[in-house]
Amino acid sequence: MPALRLTVLDPAGLHARPAAKFVKTASRFESRITITAGDRSADVKSLIALLVLTIRPGSQITLSAEGPDADEAIRALLEELGAAVEPVDTGVQPQTQP
């Protein structure tokens, strides 16, 4: 299962507008996509779950996907986030294909 650890850089966190775009992008994929922040996680296809997660600037999130198009989904979401996040340097190779 591809998973990606990221730090949120956007000073507003993942707030309503970007969260809505995130949901729309995620919904194009069949895979189940989960975002985890701390000990809580949310289905990326649910705006309410995403908003209740309250992803604040500086927080670390993990994006994971499970399903037939999991790699593409993670890539698309990472692209969507753009400069709002940076990968967490864990010293290990990321699990997704380049």
Binding site: A16, A20, V23, L47, I48, V52, L53
Partner: protein, 135 residues
């Protein structure tokens, strides 16, 4: 595609909310406002609500979810619904959700091509959404 009708006592609230909804959900979701009375006062108007509903159906909404603010909005909406025949009435759903949060959540759900049940469920979730989660 599911459309939305925003019913408020204030045209400014309804139109401002339409702008917010368009920003998060894009332009493809048919959204119509019924804010204030015909003569521009605070209040609700059954004919304006009926017009708004009709405009969403005319713009290609298979179903329309109606969100309203409070008080007599429900009364005007009931009157407006009587304007529609059974076939059109079956395409309309009234949400219990709080107007602002409900509209935003519903619009995002509608914009991804969700069914009327999914859109109505998304709006309904707004009722229990904390204002300051984790605070």
């Amino acid at each position: 595609m599911v459309g939305l009708v925003l019913v408020s006592h204030s045209s400014l609230i309804a139109e401002g909310l339409r702008d917010m909804v368009a920003q998060v959900a894009g332009d493809e979701v048919p959204v119509a406002c019924a804010g204030g009375t015909e003569d521009g006062r605070l209040g609700t108007s059954a004919p304006r609500i009926a017009d708004a509903i009709r405009s969403t159906l005319d713009r290609g909404a298979d179903f329309t979810l109606i969100l309203l603010d409070l008080g007599s909005a429900a009364l005007s909406l009931e009157l407006a619904l009587e304007e529609f025949d059974e076939a059109d009435r079956a395409r309309l759903r009234v949400s219990e959700a709080p107007l602002v949060e409900g509209a935003v959540l519903a619009a995002v759900q509608a914009s991804i091509g969700a069914s009327i049940d999914e859109v109505a469920d998304a709006a309904a979730g707004a009722a229990s959404m904390p204002k300051m989660p984790g605070a």
